[in-house]
């Protein structure tokens, strides 16, 4: 993968009536990248994808493919192809003709057309399915046919609109791995829309998190999880505990923060003295023990055993919300159990706390 920008979404804004669907989105997608647009439904991610495909046109801003302005081009003039959420398999055509649909304009020789479609069928592991009717396919097979139909045109960018949403859980997990492997082998840029954060984290090179039409953060999965840039991203990706804090002084790159019930701490951040900040802490970064020094004491309110891990809600005097803690059940069962009512001590490694601006 090179760092070269392939698809440039330049300050794009789109309104539907009074609703601001996409607000000044600026995203530079690199060549060969698996890029995800992640956000809750109605956040504008699908509208953005449809603007890349050419089904919607921006009210402001430009869209460039490889430096070429494509903002107003209709879909059939763009070097992208799309896998629709409903798959949009043509019901009146068989599998072969569905896949061959987009090749008609290339005026290929019969044998060449045959070969291209057969290759695509092999790629999606449906060889021999050519004569099947569109109605004789399962959900997973329809999804593969939709993929092959788009990829057979050798697009520069493949756009995928929640393509795994309609599949059951097992099939979805298998398809996540397959899709990722496929993207690596064909080497083209994928733009993938999803509301499922696990899906986005496991598949993407980079993710743009969107909310209410805004792009909040564009980063790698690891960075999004470990260093979210605002409360909304921290909240949307995984679970998070939030605490109020106040910067009481600075020492070089470190800020001294008064976190109330959690005590005083020193964290590396740019926040200036006197600023109110939000402290974020992942439940699984917290370790519980029956007795410890230099830790925060609390009472177990609720405990849930989930097999490989356990979840606890810990009440800490002085905090409005209980702290959520996730522990891995790696040792013997006897050494693991904390029951409601138990007093526990919480510790976490330095650097586990993320400092966020207050909204």
């Amino acid at each position: 993968m090179s760092d070269e920008t392939y698809l440039n979404i330049d300050h794009v804004t789109k309104r539907f009536g009074k609703v601001l669907a996409v607000n000044d989105a600026q995203i530079a997608i690199r060549r060969g990248e698996f890029f995800s647009l992640l956000g809750p439904s109605g956040c504008g991610k699908t509208t953005l994808l449809r603007m890349i495909a050419g089904f919607e046109f921006p009210d402001a801003g430009e869209i460039y493919f490889e430096g070429m302005r494509m903002t107003d081009e209709p879909p059939h003039m763009r070097p992208s192809n799309m896998v629709f959420q409903s798959y949009a398999i043509f019901p009146h055509l068989n599998v072969f003709n569905n896949i061959a649909y987009g090749l008609r304009r290339e005026r290929l020789a019969r044998a060449e057309l045959q070969r291209r479609v057969e290759d695509a069928l092999v790629m999606i592991k449906l060889d021999g399915f050519g004569p099947r009717g569109a109605n004789e396919l399962s959900g997973g097979q329809r999804q593969r046919v939709a993929l092959a139909r788009a990829l057979v045109r050798r697009p520069k960018v493949l756009l995928l609109d929640e393509p795994l949403g309609a599949l059951d859980r097992r099939l979805r997990e298998a398809m996540q791995i397959e899709l990722r492997a496929l993207q690596k082998s064909v080497g083209i840029t994928f733009v993938f829309v999803t509301h499922d954060q696990e899906e986005a984290l496991s598949m993407s090179d980079r993710i743009a998190v969107m909310s209410a039409g805004q792009v909040l953060q564009i980063a790698s999965p690891r960075e999004l999880y470990e260093a979210p840039n605002c409360r909304e991203v921290a909240d949307f990706i995984g679970q998070m505990n939030f605490f109020d804090g106040k910067v009481t002084g600075r020492d070089g790159g470190m800020a001294r923060i008064d976190a109330g019930a959690l005590g005083m701490m020193e964290i590396e951040t740019g926040a200036s003295t006197g600023a109110s900040v939000l402290l974020a802490l992942r439940p699984e970064k917290i370790a519980l023990s029956a007795a410890a020094t230099n830790s925060v004491k609390g009472t177990v309110m609720a405990a849930a055993y989930l097999g490989e891990r356990s979840h606890y809600n810990i009440d800490v005097p002085g905090l409005n919300e209980p702290v959520s803690v996730a522990t891995q059940n790696v040792g013997k069962i006897a050494s693991q159990g904390h029951e409601p009512g138990d007093t526990v001590h919480m510790t976490w490694p330095p650097g586990a706390l993320v400092v966020l601006p207050r909204d």
């Binding site: 043509f90 396919l137 329809r142």
Partner: protein
């Protein structure tokens, strides 16, 4: 439980008999070897059918009806396709009331419609002919055509057309490669239904026809002559047979289309 089922079955039989037995007298007496329509039947004959076919006026009226029916079916379906598409595909302001307004001719008594059309034609000094009959039939056929086509277009997944555009086809080719084939069952059943509405119509044709008449008007005229009655019965039986075949075919085409759609929903 069982006796209740039997009761319902008997009810269904009586119901169907009530609907269809009167109609079945038509073919029954058309094969009866007697001038008079009365029991007991006196013997089997096909002479009324040969008499009917020998009558040049019958085939002329039949041909007129076919011409008018074909024209009305074609024009009303062609008018209905863009209307039905617009009403289902785009959010047309006032679309629902527009649909109701277009359907209004269905609820105006045909005799009122016939008289108003006649007044209009007189006022504009357009001479009455088969053309005016066809125009009158288009007015009544368009609502049927729109209703059939709207129900067909409503099941359309909008992304099918988008997929075609995305796969490199322009709007025109998308219509021919995706929209038209998918709408075809609806178009065929709209054509057949409009044709039947026109072919069966008496009242509007009675008002709007000039000297050249359609088949129902011809039949009405023949009823004055008692000796012609059996061959009119033969003609009626023939029309009944053709209508039934057409309606069953139209319904089959339509339900086949619906089936198609259902499969797609299940598969998705």
């Amino acid at each position: 439980m069982r006796s209740q089922g039997a009761g319902l079955f008997a009810y269904a039989i009586v119901y169907l008999a009530f609907l269809y037995v009167p109609v079945l007298f038509l073919p029954l007496f058309s094969f009866n070897n007697s001038m008079f329509i009365a029991f007991p039947l006196s013997g089997f004959t096909t002479q009324w059918y040969s008499q009917m076919w020998a009558d040049a006026a019958v085939s002329h009226a039949l041909f007129n009806s076919l011409k008018v029916g074909a024209a009305a079916a074609l024009v009303s379906t062609m008018l209905a396709i863009p209307a039905a598409r617009a009403l289902t595909r785009y959010r047309v302001p006032g679309g629902a009331s527009m649909l109701a307004f277009v359907n209004l001719p269905l609820f105006i008594p045909e005799i009122v419609l016939g008289i108003s059309l006649l007044i209009l034609l007189n006022a504009t000094a357009i001479p009455l002919s088969l053309l005016t009959v066809a125009l009158g039939h288009i007015v009544v056929c368009v609502p049927f055509a729109i209703t059939v086509l709207v129900s067909r277009f409503e099941g359309f997944d909008k992304s099918l057309e988008e997929a075609s555009l995305d796969l490199g086809e322009n709007g025109w080719m998308t219509f021919w490669r995706v929209t038209f084939p998918l709408a075809l069952p609806g178009i065929v059943s709209s054509l057949l239904l409009s044709f039947m509405v026109s072919f069966d119509d008496f009242l509007i044709a009675y008002f709007l026809a000039g000297s050249d008449v359609t088949l129902p008007i011809y039949i009405w005229g023949q009823l004055r002559f008692p000796y012609k009655l059996p061959s009119v019965l033969a003609l009626g039986a023939f029309i009944l047979f053709v209508s039934t075949v057409l309606v069953v075919f139209a319904e089959w085409v339509r339900s086949r289309g619906l089936d198609h759609r259902k499969h797609k929903m299940v598969g998705a």
